[in-house]
Symmetry: C2
Subunit: 155 residues, 2 copies
Amino acid sequence: MAVEIERKFLVTGDAWKSGTPTRLSQGYLASSKDSTVRIRLAGDLAWLTIKGPTVGISRAEFEYEIPATDAQQMLDMCEGAIIEKTRWQVSYENLIWEVDEFFGENGGLVVAEIELRSEDQTFAKPDWVGEEVTDDPRYANSNLSVKPFTRWNSS
Amino acid sequence: MAVEIERKFLVTGDAWKSGTPTRLSQGYLASSKDSTVRIRLAGDLAWLTIKGPTVGISRAEFEYEIPATDAQQMLDMCEGAIIEKTRWQVSYENLIWEVDEFFGENGGLVVAEIELRSEDQTFAKPDWVGEEVTDDPRYANSNLSVKPFTRWNSS
């Protein structure tokens, strides 16, 4: 088991775009209050990831590489929409930001995440990093698959 | 992906007991109408298994071996009760019956399953094989974790 400690921010502008992004498709097989089960496909690589409940900004995470053909079939079994995004790895002052640019039903949303070694680790914020949304559950990818960004304004 | 084609029967008596059973603990991380996510631990071996919706008596199944320490931690994240059972492999006329003897909250329940190559495959039934319960969803292990056998008579 790994423990994932992560903070999440909205992104402004596109000054962060550099390098080649990875295209990701991901879906959620099932979610309970205590866990989410994610299928992620990136070209011919795929992973099955189980995450535990969020405690503060930390979360238990179990990740297993699986055959891409399995992932493709399990994406068809997922609840909610499949999330389509490109992920950019952006280096800034010795840390890597993962910037996710969403498409489809989540089009218009761009989010940056930074993984930390401890909950109180300090870090430098690039100019294009905006409002922090770590604690806003709407931005969890498992929730974006159920209520996508383009439908937030509808009741 | 494998396709699991299985028939399930109640078991009478104990003439089937021979050999050494395997002790299994299993739980369900989350279930939706389209999938179940099972953690199974057998001593120092463990598996993560995703099953799709049942169509007739067939079901898509994806199974991955995982570290037993991961399984132990994920069992704590499961919904419902952990299922405790011993599994006996019983050979009868060239087919292997898996006989599950349940304990704890499912104590008193003994079920035999046979895996088939096709839905219409015929097979010989040992004397100790009783009523067929393939189509009774109460006997699905994922349901036994939510409503265990010893509580069926309560409303």
